[in-house]
């Protein structure tokens, strides 16, 4: 099972700033292990962020995004205590969803 994300969301002056760290290998499919076998590609392909139930960001990643991906973005609105939900899915179909309350 995928490990939890670290999500920080803080509202200030009418803007909510979101920072997300995801735990993921983001394997490119180019590298070989010590036995010389290709390590299969394994990376997050899509991500969505919802404020309460409204979509505030959708993103697509390729394998060039770094291991343990970081993402920061801002949206207008959002208040302390509101729910922010981030979900990702990877090329093997693994998914992870975490939520935080906006601080």
């Amino acid at each position: 099972m995928a490990s939890p994300m670290r999500i920080r969301a803080a509202a200030k002056d009418g803007v909510t700033e979101v920072r997300v760290l995801m735990s993921h290998v983001m394997e490119t499919g180019q590298r070989k292990d010590s036995a010389g076998a290709v390590i299969p590609a394994h990376f997050i392909t899509e991500l969505t962020a919802k404020h309460n139930d409204k979509l505030v960001l959708s993103a697509e990643f390729g394998p060039s995004v770094s291991t343990n991906p970081y993402l920061a973005f801002k949206f207008n609105g959002g208040a302390k205590g509101d729910k922010l939900v981030v979900s990702w899915v990877d090329n093997k179909g693994d998914t992870r969803t975490d939520e935080v309350q906006i601080a």
Partner: protein, 155 residues
């Protein structure tokens, strides 16, 4: 035993990231997601990457600003931020010209989301980083060179 580190060393005195990205075109078509823009992520030159978004030849714009270091200590993790001051910015795409596959990430911004995103990308070598922005149906871009160096032992 730390195989990953050893492999990195073996790849010619620390050019590990190059090996890591040597042929990012080998993404297997086992994608679980129909929405994922495979054409864009498998593009192998800038023209093909722009074409995958039907972007034609985007105009360079001073209203698109890339934040990235001039020089990165390791290409495995290079911070890149993009801000667009163009009204009605709906999409931001980060591309690395010298990577085997240019497109690193795309961000779709619904109304109300600020055109200001940051992420981190792998870079196989020193390269121009492109930010392509779609605003009010039109495409714009900016670029910035990021140098990639190699570290020593512990750092």
């Amino acid at each position: 035993m730390n195989h990953q580190r050893r492999d990195t060393l073996k790849a010619g005195g620390g050019l590990g990231v190059l090996g890591l990205l040597a042929a990012a075109g080998m993404i297997k078509p086992e994608m679980a997601n129909a929405a994922w823009n495979q054409t864009a992520f498998e593009a192998k030159n800038m023209d093909a990457a722009f074409a995958a978004f039907s972007a034609g030849k985007p105009a360079e714009s001073a209203d698109v600003v890339i934040t990235a270091p001039d020089i990165a200590e390791n290409g495995a993790v290079v911070p890149v931020g993009v801000v667009s001051k163009l009204p009605k910015t709906e999409q931001i795409v980060i591309m690395i010209e010298k990577n085997p596959n240019m497109v690193a990430a795309t961000f779709n911004l619904p109304e109300g989301t600020v055109a200001d995103v940051q992420t981190r990308v792998k870079m196989g070598q020193t390269s121009d980083v492109y930010a392509m922005v779609k605003a009010d149906g039109k495409f714009y871009m900016a670029k910035k060179e990021v140098k990639v160096t190699l570290g020593g032992c512990g750092g």
